[in-house]
């Protein structure tokens, strides 16, 4: 059975989704086996590939849809959404497990 999870987030970064946040997304996404896509209007990017994410060109204020399919899809979307909600504020947080307890 394929399980799908979805969540809408907004980019709150002055420079948009630039290199460092993209790399944090990849780091987080890589911890999950499910397929994760990030959509912006008609474009879609694989959350596990840095170059794809960069070409999304998500500027400050863009609305993105996070969508995961497969094992732990819900956890994956939650973990990624948390990055956006915290505005990727702590660069070190990307290397820590984000799959812990929900707030």
């Amino acid at each position: 059975m394929t399980y799908t999870a979805q969540k809408t987030v907004r980019v709150g970064l002055e420079q948009g989704l630039h290199m460092v946040p993209c790399s944090l997304i990849v780091r987080t996404a890589e911890r999950f086996s499910c397929e994760i896509q990030i959509q912006k209007e008609d474009r879609s990017a694989d959350a596990k590939t840095m170059l794809d994410l960069l070409t999304l060109s998500a500027e400050n204020g863009s609305v993105l849809v996070l969508e995961a399919r497969g094992a732990e899809a819900g956890e994956a979307v939650k973990a990624l959404a948390r990055l956006f909600e915290s505005n990727f504020d702590d660069p070190a947080s990307g290397s820590q497990p984000a799959t812990g307890s929900d707030r």
Binding site: M19, S23, M50, L51, D52, S57, P91
Partner: protein, 582 residues
């Protein structure tokens, strides 16, 4: 026969067989590989990726430790880019399905991504293309780097021709087999050039595009005196140069006999000759050449050599080696002087968005910006000073505040060492490089706060004449004999004399016999030169009187063109020491 003209950076003449090094940048040796080589090539690509990842991880770790998390995160992002599964899959499929070489496949895929980013029409993303080019370079460097290891397996004497040699490659040249080298790019005072001088092999740089005409194995002559490279010389030319080679050799032999004689003018004025070094091992060479100490120890090679930031012990050990090789003589250690043309991998990448590196965060500015890094070096200097007459010198000081801050940090280091009861010496002399015109303007003020000045002519010329010495289109404007430079030196000498501060001239000008009489005539009594120039300089000094030097200086100061000054001085040198003008 083909004659190419470039910039002479290390004297001597040599004839031999050519080895061409693959160009580092974007000349990709082959586009296709044979079908049965695909597996090996895939393997080569994967091990390259491993090495690239490891290198970026190491950069990331260093950046986090030394500069903080936000710098480390930049490399974290680079690493994610280099690990991008889509990217790797695309490159691998080009190698396995289209039999493209890993070099060509990587370059093609990365450039396509870069173009995609540039086409997004957003400034930020367009700029990110640079990060992708950086990754391309890294991958190519590792792929092609394997080929460069050919240099390590030389069995017979050769002459190396390359698009470019990095300082570390130059330093690594096997002196037993590499008799000379020539490169397409580079300028007078690039570090590669300085190193060639230190290695004492003839070298010519800045030849422009010529490697496409050379396949390797041809006969070539490198004329490091005139900056010429002669490809496939005819018999007559070959005979002429073989003869010249002999003559250069005999002059060198004669000069070597000066070693034990004092550096004194005819009328008995003693001049102090010191050596410039990059590596501790060179201190020994300086002594062999008769230097009375080290006037400039360029410590940035500690950073360049190993591609990582050296520890206090690394510094300490290197300094002790130098002190041991210069017993009873002064050793002036210049703190980190990282500049645009000598940026070590790690440190250079830590300051990512440099607009103009020559005017940016470099030298003492970089040290004051990275106090832990600075303190590590100062601790090692003060500890090593227990064993000798060590002096510390700050580079690129452009205002009094920088000097005071640097001295304050030195004071903190003294307090720390005292508290920790580590043996050290507290009364080391402190000086500055005078290499920014602002420091010359304020020479009187600086003279009241330092023990010595060292005039760094290379940078002083560059900043005064506003010439980037590495840019071939303006390199001809970079002239040591420019009247403005002579006046600046005169001002420094007079400010120093007023406050009884010692002045040394280091840099290329003090290694060129042409300028020695002028500088002595202007009041300079200490030179710090590349070791191989010391015998020549001593020869000039021993054939000079102070009075004649003063006359030469007085006349040179009346001339208003660099060309006239240099021609006049060359003529005078010819009169004083005809042997030295070849």
């Amino acid at each position: 026969m083909q004659i190419k003209r470039g910039i002479a950076v290390s004297p001597g003449v040599v004839t031999g067989e050519v080895v061409v090094l693959g160009t580092e940048d974007f000349r990709i040796p082959q586009r296709f590989v044979s079908i049965d080589a695909v597996e090996t090539e895939l393997g080569r690509f994967r091990s390259t990726l491993d090495a690239v990842w490891e290198e970026i991880e190491e950069n990331e770790r260093l950046a986090r430790e030394q500069l903080g998390d936000q710098f480390g995160a930049i490399f974290g992002a680079h690493l994610q880019m280099a690990r991008d599964p889509k990217l790797i899959a695309e490159i691998e499929s080009l190698i396995s399905e289209k039999s493209l070489s890993p070099e060509y496949a990587s370059s093609r895929v990365l450039r396509r991504f870069a173009r995609d980013l540039q086409n997004l029409g957003n400034q930020y993303h367009a700029e990110r293309a640079v990060d992708i080019f950086d990754l391309e370079k890294r991958i190519l460097r590792h792929l092609l780097g394997e080929r460069r290891e050919e240099l390590l397996h030389l069995r017979a004497p050769v002459i190396v021709l390359a698009h470019n040699l990095t300082p570390s490659e130059t330093a690594g040249l096997d002196r037993e087999f590499v008799m000379g080298f020539a490169t397409e790019v580079g300028g007078h005072t690039s570090h590669t050039a300085i190193l060639a001088g230190a290695l004492e092999i003839p070298a010519v740089v800045g030849l422009g595009h010529f490697l496409s005409d050379v396949s390797g194995g041809e006969m070539v002559i490198i004329d490091g005196n005139h900056g010429e490279v002669i490809l496939e010389p005819d018999d007559e030319t070959l005979a002429k140069y073989r003869d010249l080679e002999e003559r250069v050799h005999s002059v060198t032999e004669r000069l070597a006999s000066l070693k034990t004689l004092p550096a004194e003018t005819i009328d008995g004025e003693s001049i102090t000759l010191l050596g410039n070094i990059e590596f501790p091992e060179e201190a020994e060479v300086c002594r062999e050449r008769g230097a009375k100490g080290i006037g400039l120890y360029r410590t940035e090679f500690l950073y360049l050599e190993r591609n990582q930031i050296p520890s206090e012990e690394d510094h300490y050990e290197a300094y002790r080696k130098v002190i041991a090789a210069a017993p009873d003589h002064p050793v002036t250690i210049r703190t980190l002087d990282v500049g645009a043309d000598k940026v070590p991998e790690t440190i250079g990448e830590l300051a990512p968005d440099v607009v103009n590196p020559q005017l940016g965060l470099r030298s003492v500015r970089l040290s004051l910006h990275n106090i832990p890094l600075f303190k590590t070096q100062l601790r090692a200097i003060l500890r090593a000073a227990v064993d000798g007459d060590v002096r510390v010198m700050f580079p690129l000081v452009s205002n009094l505040m920088e000097l005071r801050q640097a001295r304050m940090i030195l004071g903190d280091v003294i307090d720390d060492l005292e508290e920790q009861q580590v043996p050290f010496r507290r009364d080391v002399q402190v000086g500055i490089m005078v290499e920014v015109p602002a420091a010359v303007m304020l020479a009187e003020e600086f003279a009241q706060e330092v023990d010595f000045f060292s005039i760094g002519t290379n940078d002083l010329i560059q900043y005064t004449l506003a010439v980037d010495r590495a840019d071939p289109s303006v390199a001809n404007l970079y002239r040591s004999g420019d009247p403005s430079i002579l006046r600046l030196i005169r001002n420094v000498v007079s400010a120093a004399a007023k406050h009884d501060v010692a002045v040394t001239v280091c840099g290329q000008m003090s290694s060129d016999p042409v300028f020695i009489s002028l500088l002595i005539g202007m009041g300079i009594r200490q030179f710090s030169s590349t070791p191989h120039a010391i015998p020549e300089i001593k020869e000039v000094i021993r054939n000079l009187t102070i009075e004649s030097a003063e006359q030469i200086a007085a006349h040179a100061l009346t001339l208003d063109l660099a060309r006239d000054v240099e021609n006049y001085l060359r003529g005078e040198l010819h009169r004083i020491c005809p042997d030295l003008v070849l």
